[in-house]
Subunit: 380 residues, 2 copies
């Protein structure tokens, strides 16, 4: 439960809203979603010019609950509450901030767990694969609904950063500032490899039932747990794992068995269990596919990121973290170089942090000061 | 099937031998193996002084079949055939080379898949966990059997390198030269984390049956496949994955489903399948535990590798590979520093290679020339 003081420095209690879209959405795959819902939250007030809106794009396991609390009894606030709120780096006293759960999600937007009105049962395996391009198209429709023709800024970390890039390419006139954090222009073979092991863990779980586990009243818990354990290794740096856990034994001595011996095992299994109890396996699968698919250069004979980013007109702030090996600083520098090739305004910072990829979610004074300084020059 | 020319430059057709040990072996865990077999191969001829023997210690999924061919119809020779043979860097014209399958293995030495004479059934879950220290103790007994009081050299890569280190500490007078390749003095938290995800994949496979799957006439194939897919990512460098597979699509276009789309997925799944068809899951589990447990500093109040290596008197050749992120060069340098602290003779080389951890198994001219040069100065 938040302390009164925490509530004061946060956006406080927030209530999600749902936007229903009755017009069909043709996805990149060719599949058509006849209608869909997007659940979202807003913080701050949209000004009279409707020029102070900021869209927050979420990553693999994120959602629309970016800041504040749903109830005074909540254990934790929204996932980017340390960054967004009154007087915070993204100041809800100045900006109108929108968090949205992506299509295919499992927190209220239409996804595999939603009831398919055509059958009366959960979509399950019949929910189509969606892409970053589809998400951005659906987010643009949400902006239309809210009568926001141009965002002051769009911000996202990791997979969220890919959505920011896609916004700058697909709707260049609709965003003034792009904040791309701990991201990459496209996945490497190693990134895809980790995703595929995670997917295979879920797909080969006997409880998966080809994605229709809801109808079987079961759940591929084992697979999702493994996927999350593996993912977690890639979110942390070797450094921080070493300093936090090292080779510390839980019971002080080896027990020569397969129960938890090292603290790192206990931590990882706990993270896997917690996630498997709260996330949908089909959503996890499709989010990893959206990651794999994203590649602004995919339709070029010779991949050329500079050419792919040529349509972008926004100003950019690109941030990376020194120990992030999932999306290492050199991946951010690829984006920076491509923007410079197009003579765009781009600021780049490589933050010294030992927290690996997860650093983008954490409170780091330099990182937050940088975003604060950047946002202070964004007019509303 | 080997070409005639390949057979000539190799040790040729070899036949494994089995040594039976009737005396009980007390393991580090306190468990006792009443009796056991070790399967081994030898190449070259033991000289009259019995002073030209070389022991090869294998890594996670290796075995005693180090060089040569079991039959002219074999698809592949032993796993280190490119290094060991007549005229090769480890020249069987000069040296008598021994490959041994470690205790707990699944290629002939006593392990979980062996029949427990007390029950008439496979050991399964009743096979005790073994450590690097136990392996080295059992290898020393094999040396006794072969009347080899002192090895000219002991060589190993990865987990094999840990056995080399342990030999130098536990039996310093029994080895003149230690070759430790792509290894580390002990695992990091991240190394253990990867191992634990692999183990959890096997342990939570419904076909695992607490390790007694033999009795259930089943096999935790899904789990072992995932474990190997994951392991494989850590054996390759990001570099080589990128240059070999990149983002190449198998069918040239996305199919928006969970079947293989990227070449890297095809490769990994193939590797997982192949391994799951040929290796024992209990052995895999126990080998990863031996890796986790090894730590020459574990009984010190303040971990000090220099103090731990103080007993060693052998000369050392330590080799690492630039893109190995499983056991990175800095891990080898820890060993080098500890040996220098003890004023031991140590040569160190960091080989430029883009093959990651797997480089230790591959033919690289610089790497092999280095071992050749080192071995040429080893007297017999």
């Amino acid at each position: 439960m938040p302390l009164a003081s925490t509530l004061i420095s946060s956006v406080g209690i927030v209530t999600p809203q749902t936007a229903h879209f009755a017009a069909p959405l043709t996805l990149k795959s060719g599949a058509v979603l006849p209608a869909y819902d997007l659940v979202f939250e807003t913080y701050g007030t949209l000004n009279a010019d409707r020029s102070n809106a900021i869209l927050v794009c979420h990553a693999l396991s994120g959602n629309h609950h970016v800041a504040g609390w749903h109830a005074a009894t909540d254990k934790n606030p929204g996932w980017w509450d340390n960054l967004i709120g009154p007087g915070k780096p993204i100041d809800t006293g100045r900006f109108f901030v929108i968090g949205v759960n992506n299509l295919g999600g499992c927190h209220g937007s239409t996804g595999p767990v939603s009831i398919d009105p055509q059958t009366g049962h959960a979509f399950g395996s019949r929910f189509p694969l969606v892409t970053v391009e589809d998400w951005v198209a659906s987010q643009a429709r949400l902006a239309d609904t809210l009568d926001i023709s141009r965002f002051a800024a769009i911000i996202g970390g990791s997979l969220g950063g890919m959505q920011v890039l896609q916004w700058s390419i697909a709707y260049p006139e609709r965003v003034r500032h792009c904040l791309t954090i701990a991201s990459a222009p496209k996945l490497t073979a190693q990134n895809i490899a980790f995703n595929d092991v995670a997917r295979q863990a879920i797909l080969t779980d006997p409880d998966f039932h080809a994605g229709d586990y809801y109808a079987h009243h079961t759940y591929p818990r084992r697979g999702l747990r493994l996927a999350r354990m593996l993912g977690h290794i890639t979110y942390l740096s070797d450094d921080v794992m070493g300093s936090k856990f090292g080779r510390i034994l839980r019971a002080g001595a080896f027990n020569y068995g397969y129960d938890v011996e090292f603290e790192i095992e206990s931590y990882l299994r706990y993270q896997g269990d917690k996630f498997a109890d709260s996330f949908d396996a089909n959503t996890y699968l499709l989010m990893t596919k959206a990651l794999d698919y994203f590649d602004p250069t995919q339709h070029q004979a010779e991949p050329n990121l500079s050419a792919a980013l040529q349509p972008a007109v926004a100003d950019f702030l690109i941030i990376s973290f020194t120990t992030d090996w999932r999306f290492a600083p050199e991946r951010s520098r690829e984006i920076v170089q491509a923007l410079l090739d197009n003579e765009r305004n781009v600021s780049y910072a490589e933050i010294v942090s030992n927290h690996g990829h997860d650093a983008f979610l954490m409170h780091d004074p330099h990182y937050h000061a940088l975003i604060r300084a950047y946002m202070e020059r964004v007019t509303t």
